[in-house]
């Protein structure tokens, strides 16, 4: 009884407190209802959960069978089926370490060592060649592991590089300042696709004969080069936000440039720019799907390849929704984590 009254007050206050608002509320509820009932019919009532492609074509609903049939390929690409536990193990390790590192109490040096270990272990796991693991060439890597490796390594390297570039752009030394500014402006001025092209087509031409650098590494370098320019501008925004008095106080205490930056300015500046930093990271996570143009099969491209199977033509919606969910899961978690961090630092009263 009490509850229903509380609900009524809430509705009145938030949904029907003016004529315009009541009208909008009704319209939105109607639209929402229409959409949900359509979706329910598509995904449950008329969907094919068990059967084959022919059954799917006859039904008007979703073809869940398609995803059941293809999820292995979408997630892991051309990785040999018998060895599939290796990328799975790789993802599990990677995600566990990401979650472990997200707690502030684990922000210490030994976590960095764990990361170094993880990169070593996952390279061995994915590539094989030792410990009697059969070799899997990197052009067979694909799907989710590739997406995750490209983005996680990308963030790890481009974040510190971005900080260095941002400091460089504000440096008093003209050569460093001009170099950083030119680099940032140049990279921001071209699309990421062109960088990927250069890394795969032009870059090998400059290498001495016989030297081959793996395509994944070249793509990784292109991504890092691109993202660190954006990261630099994000960090510079934070540096700009720190009052001059902080620099002066640190300098007046006899701290040198690096100590001033590391101990006083950056800890504050990086906290200020958590939202745009995560913004850049999320953008980059999704941009890794551009590696398709140099024939690397990330999550997006394996899904597109699965759609081209002549036996299973025409299930685009199912395929796209499936990977949209995966992308959403990762991006949403990152956004959520960024808000947790902001709250934590605000509570400490350290952002004043």
């Amino acid at each position: 009884m009490f509850k229903s009254k509380a609900l009524r007050t809430w509705c009145h206050k938030n949904l029907f407190n003016s004529k315009m608002n009541s009208f909008l509320s009704v319209v939105i509820v109607v639209i929402l209802f229409k959409f949900l009932s359509y979706f329910y019919a598509w995904f449950v009532t008329n969907a094919v959960w068990i059967g084959d492609a022919a059954a799917c074509r006859e039904a008007s609903g979703a073809c869940v069978v398609f995803i059941k049939e293809k999820y292995n390929f979408i997630l892991f690409g051309f990785y040999p089926r018998a060895e599939i536990y290796r990328p799975i193990l790789c993802i599990v390790l990677l995600l566990s370490l990401v979650i472990y590192s997200s707690y502030e109490k684990n922000w210490k040096k030994c976590t960095l060592i764990l990361w170094a270990l993880l990169f070593l272990v996952s390279t061995i796991l994915m590539g094989g060649g030792i410990f009697s693991l059969p070799i899997v060439e990197s052009d067979q890597w694909g799907g989710l592991p590739l997406t995750l490796i490209l983005s996680v390594v990308g963030i790890f390297v481009s974040y510190p590089l971005g900080i260095v570039l941002a400091l460089g752009r504000r440096s008093k030394m003209p050569i460093i300042r001009i170099f950083s500014t030119c680099y940032i402006e140049l990279i921001r001025g071209v699309p990421m696709i062109s960088l990927l092209f250069m890394s795969s087509v032009m870059f090998p031409l400059f290498l001495p004969e016989g030297v081959v650098i793996d395509k994944i590494i070249r793509a990784q370098i292109a991504i890092i080069m691109f993202v660190c320019a954006y990261m630099a501008e994000v960090v510079r925004g934070g540096l700009q936000a720190i009052p001059r008095g902080q620099y002066e106080a640190a300098e007046a205490l006899g701290l040198n440039y690096f100590q001033t930056m590391r101990l006083v300015i950056l800890p504050q500046a990086l906290k200020v720019v958590i939202p745009p930093t995560v913004n850049t990271v999320i953008g980059m996570f999704k941009d890794t799907s551009l590696v398709i143009i140099i024939a690397l099969f990330d999550l997006m491209s394996t899904m597109k390849t699965a759609l081209k199977d002549p036996e299973w033509l025409g299930f685009n919606v199912e395929g796209y929704i499936f990977i949209a969910l995966i992308y959403f899961m990762f991006c949403f978690s990152m956004g959520k984590y960024s808000r947790t961090l902001e709250k934590k630092f605000n509570r400490k009263g350290t952002l004043t």
Partner: protein
Amino acid sequence: MNQVIEIKNLSKWFDDFQVLKDINLNVKKGEKIVICGPSGSGKSTLIRCVNRLEVHQEGSVRVNGIELTDNVEVIESTRKVVGMVFQHFNLFPHLTILENLTLAPMWAKKLNKNEALEIANKYLDIVQIADQAHKYPGQLSGGQKQRVAIARSLCLKPEIMLFDEPTSALDPEMVKEVLDVMTKLAEEGMTMICVTHEMGFAKQVADRMVFMDEGKIVEESSPEEFFNNPKSERTKKFLNQILH
């Protein structure tokens, strides 16, 4: 001979505007100088030249006989013997009070953590703020913040302290607690240059008064003479304005 600060023919420009015009000032060890003057007269700029937060264009500044140049090592070692307290405290908001105090001893002086903590606790006691050691600056009042800022400078065991209007940003009832700390420091024989308009403090503590206007030192005299018998018209006018 025992001049710790020697400023000779110092001139400084911000673009086309000359803020300091041919300043000469010597400070002996243990001497307390109070600099006053209307805003924009170059008082703050002058003391900021002493630890090279501002770079001068002409003349020379010597601290302990060493001339300040662009040499980074000279600047850094000078800053370790010249403490500075700012109008707006400039505490580091992301660090606790204790961490604010131990930062410079640990990094600039390379003391180990225990030594730094010992020094920090000692000065927190002296400025009577030991009970706030684990709070963040944002949780303190203005007067408390400024006392922490003084303690932070003292942790480097400086020979000279510069105060840049330390009480101007405080609520009136907090001025006294900060001045008390400064008076105590003066009594212990610290060499001090204070930019301040607290004339009571100046009368009590200063060995010498310096009055500046439009980038020049207009009058330099003992406090008795300065307050009772100022020579220049400009000084008389200024004292009339602030004392009545």
